[in-house]
């Protein structure tokens, strides 16, 4: 069942121009300190993750000593590595996130987690050799009324039972 899906770009790293994405993100939000996180979120969403090159490019556009804005690559990397929704490593074409918080856990999450790992053949944090799926765990998404919950890219699935997994994953190339 589809939520507010924003279609992920079909082909990510390699086919997209990283420099263009970074420039457009900075231009859209503005080169100010309080926009660093939105800028990184945008790069992450458009490119799939934030590689070192993106940090270098962003820093060049944001560092403006004459305006008293001092930005180091370390500062930007510090942000990218702190926030869970910013990824510094390449993921598979689709990211499967499983809510591992307590309410989902007690509503069948425990069993679902076992099935998830079995169905995908992955442990938390791993990407399949075919580059199709990455499995991650995530903290409470705030939809505990329909636990257990999984997120595949931007699509939210609630009341998920192990039997439904094959069907759900079949929708994602």
């Amino acid at each position: 069942m589809i939520n507010n899906a924003e279609h992920r770009p079909e082909s990510l790293a390699g086919e997209k121009d990283l420099a263009a994405i970074v420039e457009s993100a900075v231009r859209k939000h503005g080169a100010r300190a309080d926009e660093f996180i939105p800028i990184l979120l945008e790069i992450n969403h458009e490119y799939g993750y934030i590689p070192g090159q993106a940090i270098r490019l962003a820093r060049k556009l944001l560092h403006a000593p004459e305006d008293h804005i001092l930005v180091s690559e370390g500062r930007l990397y510090g942000l990218a590595s702190f926030y869970h929704m910013l990824h510094t490593e390449k993921n598979g074409r689709h990211v499967v996130q499983f809510c591992e918080s307590a309410p989902c856990h007690v509503q069948g999450g425990r069993e679902l987690w076992k099935s998830l790992q079995q169905t995908l053949g992955l442990k938390a944090g791993e990407t399949g050799a075919d580059g199709r799926f990455t499995l991650k765990t995530v903290s409470c998404l705030g939809v505990c009324g329909v636990g257990p919950v999984i997120l595949v890219d931007d699509d939210l699935y609630g009341n998920v039972s192990p039997e439904q997994l094959a069907d759900i994953f079949a929708r994602y190339e």
């Binding site: 996180i37 939105p38 979120l41 942000l79 926030y83 918080s101 509503q107 079995q118 009324g145 009341n159």
Partner: protein
């Protein structure tokens, strides 16, 4: 002007969307077109309609006020033909009314009083006029044109409103402290980073009734003298972010935000700032750091944000619910608000019930309701015929309460005295198949993961506590472990910089206090009484019941079961990974978990 004879509201909150609400709407529109009814029946999207959550997608048909639930796209052609063409209510699709019935039905509910949730599901969050029709922005008008900032603070003070984020500090006193600081400009922040597992009240309000928060913030800004406000909303709530932005834009159009509001010299603007996935940013100083584009690391207080907050300027931070209630307090009066609740905890509070109960979802009740009423009357009791074991209040920084606390009134003081806390209002209910050591480990895993890493007691201490808990759950617990846990918990709680570290040991401490025997069983007897911890349980086939059908052996992923056809099978305990598949596939109930 189009005259519709019927209005249909379909809920499109995340839960319903995940169950196909958009497919239902598409089917509805298609069918209405096919039947030539599109000019007579208006289809509107709204947020969640009443309780319980499990029965979405649902719809409300006016003017008859019929509530249909658990719909799928396939149900729609029949529904349209029966209800809209033939005028017959389709009973089989009707929502089953439970103990907590919907406010829209008019009947006074047993325990609920909906103030913060009053508009949820009734109005279109994308339409400011709907909000205005429910007395929206009236409070703002009377404040700006008829009250001084001091009078506003006074009224909120008299109402007894305490911050709903968790600490319960009197809201008006916080506003006063900020107002008194001689510095400019002043900022307002709204903590919409609801990260507590099991808490989703704020999410509902932000999605379904964003204007109540906007209006509350403008009133607070007027009282404090702030000129700019930020709503810090977690990125995991995309619909809330979207609805907030729409609401803010509309409020601008109507002149409720921006320069010279209502023609006075009071100006205020609001912006939404998104989080990026960090639970610790729900802590107010970490939140401020995040707004400033930094890592969400808390700062020591004093100085408090009221004195030095965003960009070093005076800042007032409050929770979504605190702001959302303010317009009602202004409109209906402090006396009305303080007539509800207990002596020190006035008014109502939203709670999110999650876990092993029949009715999970949101409620709003006056303080003072007992835990027993919440779990059994409102929650409908434990599902699947199991028994109540414990309830976690206050999220991962709270404590658990057991059946000896069932008659405790829900208010700030009572919960703290019992060793837990109110927190943001998430209630996680656990049945007797829950292992309390496993749950403590679970909560600690969460807080450890979310620790920002800045201060050593939290960064290292929570990791050490987690290691001990994992060791115990894996069957390697040893004498002295409980004492180690108690020592570590004490140190981490006393020496951490912020509420995350200070509260992280709470679940462990309270579960040790109420369920010490379970810990001892894990350590000394290497047994898990609730049969959860994989390392401490054994799957065994009962020879007397086993028919030798071989189904379990064929399904075992590690080939740990041996046996000949028609003869009792046996599980090799060393190979068994306790996945539970054999238990599921056995048709004769021949497998026991010991």
């Amino acid at each position: 002007m189009a005259f519709y004879r019927s209005h249909v509201l379909v809920s499109v909150d995340p839960e319903c969307l995940s169950r196909g609400a958009h497919d239902v709407i598409d089917a509805l529109n298609d069918e209405l077109i096919a039947q030539g009814l599109l000019d007579e029946v208006q289809v509107l999207e709204t947020s969640r309609i009443g309780d319980p959550y499990r029965l979405g997608p649902d719809m409300l048909v006016y003017p008859e006020n019929i509530h249909y639930a658990n719909l799928s796209a396939d149900d729609i052609p029949f529904l349209v033909e029966e209800h809209f063409l033939k005028g017959r209510v389709v009973e089989k699709f009707r929502a089953q009314e439970k103990a907590v019935s919907d406010e829209e039905l008019g009947a006074p509910k047993p325990k609920e009083v909906r103030i913060v949730l009053r508009n949820c599901g009734k109005i279109d969050p994308h339409n400011i006029e709907d909000y205005i029709a429910e007395d929206g922005y009236q409070a703002l008008a009377s404040v700006i044109t008829g009250m001084t900032p001091e009078q506003v603070i006074d009224e909120v003070m008299k109402s007894g409103l305490r911050g709903r984020g968790g600490a319960g500090f009197p809201a008006a006193r916080k506003w006063q402290l900020c107002r008194q600081v001689a510095d400019n400009p002043k900022y307002l922040t709204c903590n919409a980073d609801e990260g507590d597992p099991g808490a989703f009240m704020n999410r509902r309000v932000l999605e379904s009734d964003p204007h109540s928060v906007v209006e509350g913030m403008i009133i607070a800004a007027y009282a404090i003298g702030a000129s700019m406000g930020y709503i810090y909303c977690r990125a995991e709530y995309p619909i809330a972010v979207q609805n907030l932005k729409i609401a803010i834009a509309q409020a601008h159009e109507f002149g409720f935000l921006g320069g010279n509001i209502f023609g006075t010299d009071f100006s205020f603007d609001l912006e939404v700032r998104m989080g990026a996935g960090a639970f610790v940013c729900g802590e107010e100083t970490a939140l401020i750091a995040s707004i400033e584009g930094k890592r969400g690391e808390p700062r020591p207080r004093p100085p408090f944000p009221a004195v030095k907050g965003v960009w070093g300027k005076p800042t007032n931070n409050n929770n979504v619910e605190t702001y959302a209630v303010v317009p009602q307090i202004i409109l209906r009066g402090a006396e009305w608000y303080s007539s509800m609740g207990t002596e020190k905890s006035k008014g109502t509070k939203t709670f999110a019930i999650a876990g092993d109960v029949i009715n999970t979802g949101l409620i709003e009740v006056p303080f003072g309701i007992t835990l027993r009423d919440v779990i059994f009357e409102v929650g409908g009791g434990i599902k699947d015929g199991k028994h109540f074991k414990a309830i976690q209040t206050g999220g991962p920084m709270g404590g658990c309460l057991t059946s000896e606390h069932l008659d405790l009134p829900l208010d700030y003081e009572a919960l703290t005295a019992a060793g837990s806390m109110m927190g943001s209002g998430g209630l996680i209910i656990m049945d007797d198949e829950t292992c309390m050591v496993d749950m403590a480990r679970f909560f600690m895993e969460f807080t450890q993961d979310e620790s920002c890493g800045k201060c050593t007691p939290c960064r290292v201490g929570t990791r050490r506590i987690l290691e001990v808990l994992e060791k115990i759950c894996a069957g390697h617990g040893e004498a002295g472990d409980i004492e180690t846990l108690e020592f570590l918990c004490n140190e981490v709680a006393k020496n951490s910089l912020c509420g995350l570290g200070q509260g992280a040991p709470n679940p462990v401490i309270s579960m040790l206090k109420h369920f010490r025997s379970e810990y001892e069983a894990h350590i000394y007897e290497k047994k898990c009484p609730a049969k959860v911890c994989k390392a401490l349980i054994r799957y065994e086939i009962q020879p007397a019941t086993c028919t030798g059908c071989t189904v379990c052996a064929r399904n075992c992923p590690v080939e740990a079961i041996e046996g000949e056809r028609r003869l009792a099978h046996k599980i090799d305990v060393d190979k068994c990974i306790r996945c539970g598949i054999c238990l599921q596939v056995c048709n004769f109930n021949a497998i026991n978990v010991l």
